[in-house]
Symmetry: C2
Subunit: 158 residues, 2 copies
């Protein structure tokens, strides 16, 4: 099997590989983080992230192609172009939050000065956890892969 076939196989079989096909390149996550933080314009992304202009250009185009961002020329000032998250893009939030929490805990060490809170209670959001259908938190060894056809047959089994 060639490498291309191998990757195609991986992508079709595994959501992780499929996701990385869209957001796995360098800078993609950070550009999306910027978009979540309300950055809209090329120059904003460029100066905030310090990314090379040609790469930024390429990544924005790619993210637009993949339907993560919408490219919207500003009718009031035709020099300006705004990039906005689509629903597909917004749905990546859990990934970014989980990544951020992990990074703060295990890499940067200290939670940064800025804290993400629920707008209403103004209390920090909960740590991201894997949960069972009923909300119980699950650790790695409480998980198992099973075939789709066997789902939920524990009690229903003949």
């Amino acid at each position: 099997m060639t490498r291309a076939e191998h990757l195609k196989q991986l992508f079709s079989e595994c959501g992780i590989a499929a996701a990385l096909e869209v957001v796995g390149e360098r800078w993609s996550f950070l550009i999306l983080r910027g978009a979540f933080n309300r950055l809209q314009h090329f120059e904003e992304f460029q100066s905030t992230l310090g990314i090379a202009r040609n790469i930024l250009s390429n990544r924005l185009a790619r993210l637009v192609e993949h339907g993560m961002l919408r490219r919207e020329p500003d009718p009031a000032d035709r020099r300006k172009v705004a990039y906005h998250l689509t629903e597909k893009g917004r749905e990546l939030l859990p990934v970014l939050i989980a990544l951020r929490q992990w990074g703060e805990r295990w890499v940067s060490g200290v939670p940064s000065n800025a804290v993400l809170v629920d707008r209403y209670s103004r209390r920090p959001i909960a740590p991201m956890t894997v949960q069972a259908a009923d909300g119980r938190p699950l650790s790695m060894d409480e998980l198992e892969w099973i075939d789709r056809k066997e789902v939920g047959l524990k009690d229903a089994a003949a």
Copy 2:
């Protein structure tokens, strides 16, 4: 500001950038996914992922350096080396699950044949969501950045 300084700044300020410093390179996520799926040996990772041997070698070394994997020579067969997830590595699980769920929903389209279930109930795990301290699910626009010092002062404010 040079690019290096810029990145350093980013990493120190943002958990996402910090996390990507460790797991942001190509293949890192897929190698860790393999580790979660009980792959242990060089040849297993290589044949499962179809990754180039030199890159795999480099990534495994990097993940070991960063404390994601432990490299354990097999005492019974000294040719063999096993790579095992550390706690730091295992704690990345929410990120991988969130990424997988997103990829299945928005990229590969169809959930794959294999389903992750809670070992006990044998029902599929819940979708990953961002939650408030009390467990309420939160969407992007219910989130706000505030300064650490102001946390939870809504009712306590003088």
